[in-house]
Amino acid sequence: MVRMKPTFLLTRRRTLGGLAATAAALPWLASRAATPPGPGARPAEVALPSLGLRQRMLANGLLVIALPDRGTATASVQVWYRVGGKDDPAGRSGFAHLFEHMMFKRTRHMAAEMFDRLTEDVGGINNAFTAEDVTAYQSEVPANHLERLLWAEAERMQFLEVDQPSFDSERAVVQEELRQRVLASPYGRLFHALPGLAFEQHPYRRPVVGSIEDLNAATLDDVKAFHRTYYRPDNAVLIVAGDFDDAALDAAVDRYFGRIQRPEAPIPRVVVQEPPRERDERRTLAAPRVPLPALALVWKGPAARDADAAALDVASALLSAGESSRMNQALVYRDRVAQAAGFQTQLNADAGMLVAYAIGVGGAPAARQLPALEAALLREIGALAEGPIADAEFDKVRTQLLTAALAERQTPQGRATAAGWAQMYYGDARQADQVLQRLQAVRAADVQRVLRQHVLQARRATLHYVQEEAAPSPASAPQKGRP
């Protein structure tokens, strides 16, 4: 079966194999929910243990979250910065992500790639990702190396030093990442086009990975200015999970981070309000090497903290989580008109998007398949919004949510990540413990109301993704400007 899931996170490393697949299976779980438990909420049979986190703020504004975890030999050290693709400077789409890569280069007291010496050379691992609202640096190390990571994170928060050769080389890496994800992947161009359709005003309309041209325009001065502007203690959250002594951790954090100055300049924030969509729109994207035609329906969605977020996430699970989900059963199994179909929510801090998609099957022209797929997707959404929803279907989703949350919390890295998303989306890491309850409290009437409001009664953009007819277009040829 074709696996097609929008990849919203860009990471420093190429991900190998499917080890991360379980964590990614329900990506919306860790992220958001907003309504308090209603009277109809049913208690889960087994409880999700509390993260038991402890937090404090240093005088310079750095928020520190500690998640004790007795008995593990691994520690997770993460720093989440409140800066993401939406903060890319004008004409520099992809910059926040390119910058993330530069954070592994030289600092005043670290040679380039010393982060790898401190992590993987001692049996740990490091990674980082850039999303629309956030850039997070995540290391896992043997517990006895925890303090060395604190030193290194403080070092690169203060003393990043960049040079032209390493910038040029890393820019080339990021451009290859873009080619691999967007140009060489059979449905890469389709997902790359979605943000530009979903958002009309907000900088979310630029894909986080950016464009080859904008990446070429970036300069060393841009890197320095970006670090100065956003990489500061009052724009960061330090999260540490593992088996440590509380007092010793506090002392080490004070020692390495306490002396970092809080700059006086305010942190610039995106204040653009995304307007509601006024009219429907239809586009066709023709590309080389489209094996089966595909279709995406795109609506604007609410922000992550919106009261409707939890119900939209549950709607997404009912429509497309697992083989027994409605869209899979109807389009893939029963009618055999699609290889894959789904409904995804991507609710960011400022505004969101909702995407229904389907990939067709072999043997019939796109012109015949795509209108039928469009109708089928809308029919399934309509049936969920207007028809009956069995209790068993809700029970299934609740159990899926609980099981995925427990699986994520097996490791220090998973617990720290759950706290990080809660902090970013709700401004309070402790919300990680309530996210599940809130999702489980969603009732049928909530799902139906939010689908009517945000999907059925809203304007949408429709994108048809088809094979181009003639020779490969200039867009498919290699781009200029490679070193």
């Binding site: 451009q175 060489a184 290889q339």
Partner: protein
């Protein structure tokens, strides 16, 4: 037990820090270097409780309490190695078909209801096959373990294998092949497989034709002949005691009677490389080239057993992690790719190692040459002490992190069992990896990886950089150039019989 090493030259491996208190006063204000690491903690493999039922079913329970979560895996020693060449994809199709209908409590349950039953337990029912095993597994909360096992064992033992479900899966698989045929990495890996293994047991590549040949009878026969209690393993890892795990195994698998049909024969798996040492495939319009370099690797035979850890360390020096040699050269020094990955595959009669990277078409020849040069260079440049220690630590650390999750522990167990290796290897892994010496790695590379043993596959858009593909072809007189549309894995080679 694990020894961690200092890798930054000159740093004293001294006082413990976070575990015992803040750093000593002497370094209190020196923030120009990281503090020393504390004393290492040993990597400990949790106790594994192995037993066998009277009918031969193997049972392993790996208790891990703390979270109310259990992973249950069933493994059968039947995989693609028994697929006839002209029915490549048979074991995989059977694995997929298992979850599409089964007899449960005397009633035929069809695919949609089965999926609902599985997902109502909180986990999806995953089934898949490798070269020598087929597995079924679920991760569920503790109260749902028993219904999950009931479902898994029904699906394993009493699948319906319905003809209409086979037809549906076949159409989907053919469509999925069409998608893979636009992906340069997928094409490269299939070409590489056939190039190295030829028509032997491990050279099988499924195609539309091999999938079309599969009939319900083939799958029923494979199930009857290959799915046998003595070739079956149940692994339970997580919140379950050894006694309860064993009792559940007896309850759901104890009445399975041994089969009297002769077991499946496996085709010979000796590598039978094709003549060309370089294969270039033209995929018009694709956005990047995929470059793969292949080399021999140790087999699972007892003769090769003493070299297993040396081979794993050699792989780690070249491709074990971000900082290993291949990624250093291709990504870190030159920015030519998002990353180089390596993998190794071992079977009874042979093994293969491969490195792959995607890059701009214009850099394909350079990347291929860099990968080859690093493989060949290991014989002349063995890892220095700190480099070796770093890559050993990477191997040990990756192993330790797998012990952190139920699914990770289960995968370590099933991998060993499928290869017929004892679980006690888990306790030896760390000391054996740390015992490997630089000279052993060098000697391994010198013997196993001469230039004549390497193979190169590049899949890209020839028209985007004709001179690059000409350069690749010029470097090796045995080069075969092909159109992606002309590839055919249904026979013993890379092209249809008429074209050869």
């Amino acid at each position: 037990m694990i020894r961690r090493r200092q890798l930054i030259a000159g740093l004293p491996a001294a006082a413990a820090l976070l575990a015992t208190g803040p750093a000593g006063a002497a370094t209190a204000d020196d923030l120009t270097a990281p503090p020393p690491a504390g004393p290492p903690r040993p990597v400990s493999v949790p106790p594994l409780h192995e037993s066998r039922l009277d009918n031969g079913v193997s049972v392993v329970v790996a208790p891990r309490h703390g979270l109310p979560l259990v992973s249950a895996w069933l493994l059968v020693r039947v995989g693609a190695e028994t697929d006839p060449l002209d029915r490549a994809g048979r074991a995989d199709m059977l694995a997929a078909l298992l979850t599409k209908g089964a007899e449960r409590s005397g009633r035929r349950v069809r695919a949609p209801e089965l999926a609902q039953q599985a997902e109502a337990l909180g986990g999806s029912l995953s089934a898949g096959s490798g070269w020598r095993s087929t597995s079924l597994g679920m991760t569920v909360t503790t109260p749902r373990l028993e219904p999950a096992l009931s479902l898994l064992t029904d699906v394993l033992r009493r699948p319906t294998l319905a003809a209409d479900e086979l037809d549906r899966l076949r159409v989907q698989a053919v469509d999925a092949l069409q998608v893979s045929n636009s992906d340069p990495g997928s094409i490269a890996s299939r070409v590489a497989r056939r190039l190295y293994w030829g028509a032997s047991a491990y050279g099988g590549v499924s195609t539309e034709q091999t999938l079309q040949r599969l009939q319900r009878d083939d799958l029923q026969a494979l199930h009857r002949q290959g799915y046998r209690p003595e070739d079956t393993l149940l692994v339970l890892s997580g919140d379950v005691s050894p006694a309860r795990g064993r009792a559940l195994a007896q309850q759901y698998l104890g009445d399975w009677r041994a089969s009297r049909i002769a077991p499946l024969a496996r085709r010979d798996g000796t590598p039978a490389p094709l003549a060309p040492r370089t294969v270039l495939v033209n995929l018009p319009g694709v956005g990047q080239s995929s470059v793969t370099v292949l080399a021999p690797f140790t087999s699972l035979s007892p003769d090769d057993a003493p070299e297993l850890r040396i081979a794993q360390v050699a792989n780690a020096v070249l491709g074990g992690g971000y900082s290993a040699r291949l990624n250093q050269e291709v990504r870190i020094r030159r920015g030519l790719s998002y990353g180089v990955g390596t993998s190794a595959e071992q079977h009874a009669e042979g093994g293969v190692w491969e490195a792959s990277a995607q890059t701009d078409h214009r850099n394909a020849a350079q990347v291929a040459e860099l990968l080859r040069a690093q493989v060949l260079g290991l014989a002349g440049t063995p890892p220095a002490a700190d480099e070796l220690a770093a890559r050993q630590a990477t191997l040990v650390g990756g192993f330790a992190r797998r012990l952190d999750t139920n699914a990770g522990i289960a995968s370590l167990i099933t991998t060993l069992w499928a290869g017929g290796r004892p679980l006690s290897e888990l306790n030896r892994f760390v000391p054996e990896v740390l015992a490997v010496k630089p000279g052993q790695v060098q000697d391994f590379a010198r013997r196993r990886w001469p230039a004549a043993a390497l193979r190169t596959v590049v899949v890209g858009d020839f028209s985007a950089a004709p001179e690059v593909f000409d350069q690749l072809a010029a470097a090796d007189p045995s080069t075969l150039r092909l159109q992606a549309s002309a590839l055919d894995f249904s026979g013993p080679g890379l092209q249809p019989a008429a074209a050869r």
